[in-house]
């Protein structure tokens, strides 16, 4: 009986994490002007351990990134890979699969071990598949970042750790 309980708990645990995951990221890359440059970006992103596949759209200088099942996605590392290739992120948006999250008035929530602040929205809960755009110096051209900066306030209670700012 004890063994069965442990197995059931394990199944619940893994099903929770495999369901609540960032499934896909779309990224726009600035400064790309040739297919060799685009290939360089792709190769840098492919090196990330949690990345399953990258499809670059050379014409529109965009990429779609798919992830390994159950792997924890590190959004910072994706932006850094673009930067390491010598280019800049124009936008980065991710598809989140939420079970159900009630949002605090501050917009704070936790997802897959990372802390987030949802800004500039009236949403009170997150559920199902939702696309969120990342806001930050690494994720936007300076001109766009400057517009968002006044809204970027981390008022999550008792939370001094790093947060990702996202919007709908």
């Amino acid at each position: 009986m004890k063994g069965l309980t442990i197995i059931l708990l394990c199944l619940c645990f893994f099903s929770y994490f495999s369901g609540a995951q960032i499934t896909e990221v779309e990224i726009g890359v600035n400064g790309l002007t040739c297919s060799q440059c685009s290939r360089t970006v792709e190769m840098r992103i492919r090196k990330l351990s949690f990345v399953k596949n990258v499809e670059m759209n050379l014409e529109h200088t965009e990429g779609k990134i798919l992830f390994k099942n159950g792997a924890q996605v590190n959004i910072d590392k994706i932006a850094q890979a673009v930067n390491d290739a010598g280019f800049s992120v124009r936008y980065l948006q991710a598809s989140f699969t939420f079970d159900h999250i009630d949002l605090a008035p501050s917009g704070c929530f936790e997802f897959d071990k990372d802390n987030y602040v949802l800004i500039n929205t009236q949403k009170k809960e997150l559920k199902g598949t939702t696309t969120l755009k990342f806001i930050g110096k690494k994720f936007l051209p300076k001109k766009d970042f400057d517009k968002w900066q006044p809204y970027m306030k981390n008022s999550c209670a008792g939370n001094n750790s790093k947060v990702y700012f996202v919007t709908m």
Binding site: G31, T33, S35, R39, E59, D84, G86
Partner: protein, 323 residues
């Protein structure tokens, strides 16, 4: 000349195509991606009178950070005599006084292939302004060359002819229809100390050749011919380029023993000069990975005395991304 002007105008007015900055000769302000190794092998050749001169080189490039790249090059050529040429200096006697002058250096002499030397080049990008299909970037570079060749012209060329130091600024502007890169910098060569044969059959004479400092000013344009629209990495890219390579350099000073023998300088090879060359080039990039380029150089304004025209430049380059 007309065809060059037409080509330049075409570059400036072409539409709906992204330009290219992977110039066959000049470096753009962009960097080698971080952690990526680039390997380039190249050949520069021309016919000097009846002798074919070649310089074969290899360049290893590595991205230390996204903004800092390091390049190490080495080359071999049949450009130089093992000692300074017999015609470098001559002298006459007037009473008990010896009057030294520079002589006429014979061109088209067969020289053996020798290892020329090596070169360290570091580039740091300090301005980046990227748009979706555009960017404006600026980089500073520093270059250090070690070459021990009996170079017999005043015009300094690092890696090939001279030990020395180089530094400059690279500016690349790329917007939809064309890419342009302007490079300006200095070349500070180190003097060569060696021996020149005595024209009258005496013992070789200890000789110091101090080369002129130089200012370079290069302007490069690039244009993508094919594909018209990118679909995948397997499309072979065809790019065309025009590069204007300019240099102004000072006159040489030649010393034999403690005496300066280079006044007046009779040969243009040791006189101050300036020129601009034009290098139309074509490049194909296979599978977005293997880059092959070919350029031909002609004098545009003035002429260089360290090479003969046309100059053929050929290069193959590939990036290795690692695991």
């Amino acid at each position: 000349m007309k065809i060059y002007i037409c080509l330049i105008l075409y570059f400036f007015t072409a539409t709906s195509i992204d330009a290219q900055e992977l110039y066959p000769i000049c470096e753009p302000a962009s960097n080698v991606p971080k952690g990526t190794l680039g390997v380039r092998v190249f050949d520069e050749s021309y016919k000097e009178v009846s002798i074919y001169r070649h310089m074969f080189g290899i360049k290893l490039m590595y991205g230390l950070t996204p903004k800092l790249s390091i390049y190490v090059s080495a080359c071999m050529s049949n450009h130089h005599s093992p000692v300074l040429p017999v015609g470098l200096t001559t002298h006459t006697h007037s009473g008990n006084k010896t009057i030294y002058t520079t002589g006429n250096i014979t061109r088209g002499v067969q020289y053996p292939y020798e290892f020329n030397g090596d070169d360290l080049y570091i580039k740091y990008r300090f301005v980046t302004s990227d748009g979706q299909n555009s960017h404006f970037r600026m980089a500073a570079y520093g270059e250090l060359s070690y070459v021990n060749e009996a170079h017999d012209e005043t015009e300094p060329t690092l890696l090939d002819d001279n030990s020395g130091f180089g530094a400059g600024i690279i500016t690349t502007y790329l917007i939809h229809h064309f890419a342009a890169t302007f490079t300006t910098g200095i070349v500070l060569p180190v003097a060569y100390n060696g021996y020149a044969p005595d024209p009258y059959g005496g013992a070789d004479v200890a000789t110091k050749l101090v080369y002129g400092n130089a200012v370079i000013y290069n302007l490069s344009f690039g244009y993508l011919l094919y594909p018209r629209h990118y679909k995948n990495y397997s499309q072979t890219n065809w790019n065309v380029y025009i590069e204007f390579m300019g240099k102004s350099y000072g006159e040489a000073k030649v010393y034999q023993g403690p005496q300066m023998v280079s006044s007046p300088i009779l040969t243009p090879l040791l006189q101050a000069g300036n020129y601009i060359e034009i290098y139309p080039g074509i490049q194909c990039i296979i599978k977005s990975d293997l880059r092959i380029d070919f350029s031909i150089g002609y004098p545009f304004l003035g002429t260089s005395y360290v090479r003969f025209y046309p100059v053929y430049m050929f290069g193959i380059q590939r990036y290795f991304y690692g695991k």
